[in-house]
Subunit: 212 residues, 2 copies
Amino acid sequence: MIEIYADSRETRSGLLKTLSEMEGYSIKVGELPCGDYAISSDVCIERKSATDFVISIMDGRLMEQIAKMKIDYKRPILLIEGNPFKTRSAIKTEALVGAISWVNAIEDVTVLMVADEGESAKMIATMARHLQQGLGYEVPLRRNKPKASDLGSVYNLEGLPGVGPKTAQNLFNHFGSIFDVCMASVEELSQVPRLGKASAERIYNQIRHRKS
Amino acid sequence: MIEIYADSRETRSGLLKTLSEMEGYSIKVGELPCGDYAISSDVCIERKSATDFVISIMDGRLMEQIAKMKIDYKRPILLIEGNPFKTRSAIKTEALVGAISWVNAIEDVTVLMVADEGESAKMIATMARHLQQGLGYEVPLRRNKPKASDLGSVYNLEGLPGVGPKTAQNLFNHFGSIFDVCMASVEELSQVPRLGKASAERIYNQIRHRKS
DNA sequence: CTATGAGTGCCCTGA
DNA sequence: TCAGGGCACTCATAG
């Protein structure tokens, strides 16, 4: 059973009703210190309608709420319902962008936008499930692996830090095999075109990095 | 002067043009190992149009890109342009919500949504400014590179033939590092759970395979 | 992402 | 020890 904690102020919202009608979820209503929904010990969600969001920027409530959430939760999420750019209000686009950028870049808080209440419900439910039960299987990080050996080697090297398609090809050309790349010293790695000492070191470290 | 690094694939986009016309910004185009824009040593941005986003979910490119960004940068951002829920595509809403939730909840990557290219430009520019100049005082690029991670190693090993998420983890657990996997003989590789002689040989051959 | 199906190869059991 | 069926995991495809 997936548990979602909702703040009592949300009681009247249709969202809470939708959530409580879902199979496999248990909704607990109470007084949250901040935010509207808590879906794990690290994650809480502040849900705002587009107009509410705009207003909370102007009266400074947004900063306050975000700051508060960051104290109690490691990973707060701001969920905006509707398009704030489309609201008829005095606020300038720059201010809007500035606020979102601040929330995101400085405060490191995720900003999600959904169209309506229904999407909000689905989003909150799914995130709760993912956090509490995982996906139910492992996600394949890489797909469409090439079969030809040369391509396979290049593809494999793309897994190293700071190595994209171009550098992977360079590495392979220079060393001739994955094995030789693994044996290379930092100095030898630096010889490769487009690889500086910093990247070379990171690659070297990743290859030797031991399970923590 | 605020610096923004853009991947060369973005050259044709109107966004890059808009950015380069902005006062006080210096845009450098080059080959980024991953992501489309880098705005600090810790933060890079993968920008996707709504339809692109949907397509990249379906062909599995999204997971790969996110994973790669997480290896190279401390704080990757996924910037979605337009409303993915409104695209006419065969994908189910559940899958869409699932993807966003996965990026967010499981991968702990910030998701940002904007309406169009213009907003993207403003958002990227503003975030760059916030990160590089702070809101008032100086917080320039700290040069602390992301350290080698378990995830990076597992991701790398997943590039090998016949190796999916499960086996990659098993390999890493058994040998402790990419380096040790590369040094292993066919016999030693066979020791790993669920790896028989056939798979072990394929892996061994791929690692030693020389450029043809 | 979610769903489904086929294919490969490991592994366990039983003789 | 070896054959065979069950299973786990990879990989392709489709919405």
